[in-house]
């Protein structure tokens, strides 16, 4: 697999036309330089650097997943894994009722999906939950990745995320801050989690969506989630042979498999 784009380091000269300077570059003396470690994306009109590492810096409108760090009289202080803590005012939480105290609605340690409503010049971040996407997280799993890899998890026009959702039939909400919420069947969630870690590891390579599709299919067969009729016989044989490590996961699957298969046998 080839690295599709050239890796640049801070200070590398990218262009001599200051009008083309895009994100993660800086201009000095009519020359455009890279300012972070990343992949070069150069077109005729703009030159930008796609960072490979770095913390999440909030921007207005981002969907983020955060953990409530503190409850105050007029809202919640939320950790969004960025240099800046965020604040969710009571008025911005539609779950709030006048007869409830803030800590009855959200308590310390609760995870929430929220949107960045406002950032003042002093980098005080305000969140809002007035959006159909926003909710407190009570079920599912949260996966943490480097925020610079988030665009790859989403893919071009959401291709990667669509792939995971359709192949695995799980709910996924990606926070721009690198936290990803996955909900659904436990084993499918595990596959999605593994896939996301692979995406994070290999974010700077080409052809990733295809490889992930392959990986997900492979894992589904391994876990006995795909093609149950064909694979089932084989699998049951395997279980008895292997014993040991696979057993704790498999019995559930078999129960489920038998549910389907059993009907057929009856009819």
């Amino acid at each position: 697999m080839e690295v599709s784009r050239k890796i640049v380091l801070p200070g590398d000269l990218l262009s001599t036309n200051p009008k083309t300077a895009g994100p993660n570059t800086y201009v000095e003396g009519n020359r455009v330089y890279a300012r972070v470690l990343g992949l070069l994306d150069k077109t005729e009109t703009t030159v930008r650097v796609i960072p490979l590492k770095g913390r999440y810096v909030p921007s207005v409108g981002d969907t983020v997943i955060g953990i409530v760090k503190e409850v105050t009289a007029n809202g919640w202080i939320v950790d969004i894994l960025s240099p800046y803590v965020a604040f969710l005012p009571i008025l911005e939480n539609p779950n709030m009722r006048p007869n409830k105290k803030p800590n009855e609605v959200l308590d310390i340690g609760d995870a929430i999906i929220a949107k960045v409503m406002n950032i003042d010049p002093k980098m005080r971040v305000t969140l809002t939950m007035k959006d159909k996407l926003c909710r407190p997280i009570r079920v599912g799993r949260i996966v943490v990745i480097n925020p610079t890899r988030v665009p790859r998890v989403i893919g071009k026009k959401g291709s990667m995320i669509k792939l995971l959702k359709s192949e695995l039939d799980v709910q996924i909400i990606v926070g721009q801050n690198g936290l990803i919420w996955i909900n659904g069947d436990r084993r499918k969630v595990s596959i999605a989690e593994e896939a996301i870690y692979i995406i994070e590891q290999e974010a700077h390579t080409e052809g990733l969506t295809d490889r992930i599709a392959e990986f997900v299919k492979k894992r589904k067969i391994e876990m006995g989630l795909a093609k149950p009729e064909e694979v089932k016989g084989e699998r049951e044989g395997k279980i008895e042979n292997q014993g040991g490590e696979v057993v704790p996961e498999i019995p559930e699957e078999r129960l489920k498999g038998d549910g389907n298969g059993g009907d057929k046998a009856d009819s």
Binding site: M1, D12, G54, P83
Partner: protein
Amino acid sequence: MEEIKLIVDGKRLDGRAFDELRPIKIEAGVLNRADGSCYLEMGGNKVVAAVYGPREVHPKHLEDPSKAIIRYRYSMAPFSVEERKRPGPDRRSIEISKVSREALEPVIMKELFPRSAIDIFVEVLQADAGSRTACLNAASVALIDAGIPMRGMVTSVAVAKVEGILVLDPMKEEDNYGEADIPFAFLIRNGKIESITLLQMDGRVTKEELKTALEMAKRGAMQIYQLQREAILKKYIKEEEVME
């Protein structure tokens, strides 16, 4: 005390030429929990640098509403020198921390992260001469590895005067018994030395000697710069190979 000959037959004690660096080994991204890290060997020096941030500032009163603050801690391990060093900051390491921080500050784009802190910790595991230069080189690689916006790379190297001759990248004996020790740090951008961000001097040299020393240091720094680049790029190329 008995005189030690530091230069024999136009060669140095370890057989190097006057303008030759010690062997250097750099590895980026060695620590999992840090945002960026680097392990560096420069002759007998072995140092580890870790970068955290930008992150929240604690204690709060240190924060700057207009830019990030940078904290640099140079610290020597008790076992890094022959005689056990008392652990913790002392006069020397506080001073080195300060000058090293000031060498990095103009290079880091602090204004992008108001009210935050970038913490750089550099630990000397084994000290030879020029540990501050080794630490700066490691810190610079770790900062880039952490994805922190910077104007370029900081590369540092020392020049010493030994028995009337200028030598690049002195080792312990040359540092201890030489006449002068001049550490430099440069901002290198796009393969060109743009400015000097650190210059110290211990001992005495003439004006001409200082100019020559600067030229030697520049040439040495360019070699180190290439190694620093390779170390960072290797991290991503290596991942490629593993994948295939």
